[in-house]
């Protein structure tokens, strides 16, 4: 593994972690409104997968999508501005947390509907194949979405047409507040891939390098025209489902997933052999970038309602 790539992955995961912690603070302080779904603990999935992609590959995200956008190269000032509902936001204040879009970096949107992105991503994969290009499309989705009908329809069609498609199941053990075992009769989602004749792979979703290696193999397969892969990343949602929903989880479960070696950042620090100097420089830089982003967002104007209605209300 290239040392620079490992450092880059660490910085990207750290950016997600600190971004989410900042968002939590701003939300609690009332500077951010609405529904906020944090991805603390799941950073290795976003970064491991997106590190295997090119800028022109398309990513379709979920309601818990801040990390995916950061990992795909999203711009922090526009992200914070979007969360604060400002004109300078990446969706010009029209999307909010669940509907950030930044198509210039191949980020084709979060999605407020569980399972919604699975079929949209088919379209970007189809478009690449249609034009004879080697771009691919990634659909991130949770273990909850794997129970939606779109999961079956999308994988069947992707496999049938050998679309350059990567289905990444972030199995974070919970569908809102319902535990995985209460929704799924099997231990894993990935074996379902056999039903579509495609590879289904289970990977430790808190091990960024493992996710990266598995994603790289799937991306190569897709680019070569051999079709889609289902990648199930076992991870854990550290925060409650949503800022406003109370959460009761078994203490031993929290302790098990909370061990330092289960933490994606600590796991990569140890496994990647990153020095204290590298870690400390990363923290310093990321904290400064976040401060700049928050200052930018606070100083940005709200969108003009009259201009909005002129553009969008066309009846």
């Amino acid at each position: 593994m290239e040392p620079d790539l490992v450092i880059q992955m660490y910085r990207s995961m750290l950016t997600i972690r600190l971004f989410e912690e900042k968002v939590k603070q701003l939300y609690q302080a009332g500077e951010i409104a609405g529904a906020i779904h944090l991805s603390i603990g799941q950073e290795a999935v976003a970064v491991g997968v997106c590190s295997a992609l090119r800028l022109d590959d398309a990513v379709f995200s979920t309601h818990r999508g801040h990390g995916h956008l950061i990992a795909k190269g999203g711009h922090l000032p526009e992200m914070v501005a979007e969360l604060m509902g400002r004109q300078t936001g990446c969706s010009r204040g029209c999307g909010g947390s669940m509907h950030m879009f930044e198509s210039r970096v191949g980020f084709m949107g979060g999605n407020g509907i569980v399972g919604g992105g699975l079929t949209l991503a088919l379209g970007a994969a189809f478009a690449a194949q249609y034009r004879g290009r080697d771009g691919i499309a990634v659909a991130f989705f949770g273990d909850g979405a794997a129970q939606q009908g779109t999961f079956h329809e999308a994988l069947n069609l992707a496999a049938l047409w050998k679309l350059p498609y990567l289905a990444v199941c972030e199995n974070n053990q919970y569908a809102a507040t319902t535990p995985f075992v209460a929704a799924v009769p099997t231990a894993d989602i990935a074996p379902r891939a056999a039903g579509y004749g495609i590879p289904g792979i289970v990977v430790d979703g808190n091990d960024c390098l493992a996710v990266y290696r598995a994603a790289t193999a799937a991306v190569e397969r897709a680019r070569a025209g051999d079709g889609p892969t289902l990648l199930e990343c076992k991870t854990y949602r550290v925060e409650p489902h949503c800022g406003i929903i109370a959460d009761k989880r078994p203490k031993e479960e929290l302790e098990r997933w909370g061990r330092p070696d289960r933490d994606p950042l600590e796991h990569l620090r140890r496994g990647g052999g990153l020095s204290d100097a590298v870690i400390s420089a990363a923290w310093h830089d990321v904290e400064a970038q976040l401060e700049t982003a928050v200052t930018f967002a606070r100083g940005s104007p709200y969108p003009d309602p009259a201009a909005f209605l002129r553009e969008h209300a066309n009846i």
Partner: protein, 324 residues
């Protein structure tokens, strides 16, 4: 001039737009098998190949979502719903995805999808194959909705829909598929948002949507010499050419809207709302809506006929309003 069937007009528009723009592709069930169930896609796969004419599994949610995603990536999909009723299994990609993406992304992405949905009644196909569901989509910001009732508009509106950068729901009527009328040679488009005065009259304005245009013209014919009926075909429901309707009502003072969808919460009620809001003083009598009964459409022919508007029932309503 030449004679052209409504279904041939649809087919001709698809041929012309696919030849004009390499980003246009057709997707849906059976579209590559002998020209599809109703032959709308006849000859396309032979001419443009399987890459651009995509027959799908029975998976409306997947191919509709695929179309939205492909449009986000710059293509111009034309989705075929074999029956309008089948949108029921694809409402998320239609309503929560396709219609919302331009708005949610702050205008960053456009979703130029044309959704062809085949509607119609009076063909004894009962409750799950007879619905006119346009109101669902008219109630959803983000869609444009058109309902051609002639061969001319079947072709002209489909070409405009494909060229438009918004999602357009193009509702075609199977009862009209084999109707033939005289049309020009060559290409034309019908602009979105422009109504047609299908027949001029002095006494009452009948706004007739989709298949109801035929009913209205029959009723106008039957009333000739007694009531002078002006028939307006909006053609495009969103955007709606309200100006043409208001101009007509300012002349006639009377309004009735007729469509196959149930009258309750239908688009007729919306047209009445807008006319009342902007032209209350133009009306000399209560404006009315004629639609189907508020029932799951029954199979038995006498029952179905009793539940749908007809030229006779429309004629009776017009007589009642005009009191002649």
């Amino acid at each position: 001039m030449r004679m052209l069937q409504y279904i041939q007009a649809i087919n001709e528009a698809l041929h012309e737009e696919m030849a004009r723009d390499a980003s246009v592709f057709v997707i849906g069930e059976d579209v590559d098998q002998n020209g599809g169930v109703f032959k709308a896609t006849q000859g396309l796969v032979e001419r443009f190949g399987a890459r651009r004419v995509r027959g799908t599994p029975i998976a409306e949610s997947a191919f509709t979502g695929l179309a939205a995603g492909a449009a986000m990536a710059g293509l111009r999909p034309v989705v075929e719903f074999m029956y309008f009723d089948f949108v029921g299994v694809a409402m998320d990609p239609l309503v929560n995805q396709m219609a919302k993406i331009a708005g949610m992304s702050g205008g960053q992405l456009q979703v130029p999808v044309t959704v062809r949905a085949q509607t119609g009644a009076r063909t004894r196909e009962a409750a799950q194959h007879s619905q006119s569901l346009e109101a669902w989509f008219l109630h959803t910001p983000g869609f444009k909705v058109v309902m051609p009732a002639t061969s001319y508009d079947a072709k002209g509106l489909l070409k405009s829909a494909i060229r438009d950068d918004c999602p357009v729901l193009y509702i075609e009527n199977r009862q009209l598929y084999y109707e033939t009328e005289s049309v020009p040679d060559g290409e034309w488009t019908t602009p979105l948002g422009v109504a047609e005065v299908a027949r001029e009259g002095r006494d009452i304005t009948v706004v007739a949507i989709g298949y109801a245009r035929k009913l209205a013209l029959s009723a106008a014919q039957a009333l000739e010499g007694t009531v002078s009926v002006e028939v307006i075909d909006p053609r495009s429901l969103a955007p709606l050419d309200l100006e043409t309707i208001l101009n007509s009502v300012s002349k006639t003072g009377h309004l009735v809207v007729v469509h196959d969808a149930p009258a309750s919460c239908g688009f007729g009620a919306e047209i009445v709302r807008r006319v009342v809001a902007q032209g209350f003083d133009l009306l000399d009598a209560e404006p009315l809506v004629v639609g189907s009964a508020h029932v799951p459409m029954p199979f038995s022919p006498p029952l179905e006929d009793a539940c749908l508007p007809s030229a006779a029932s429309l004629t009776a309503v017009i007589r009642k309003i005009i009191n002649r």
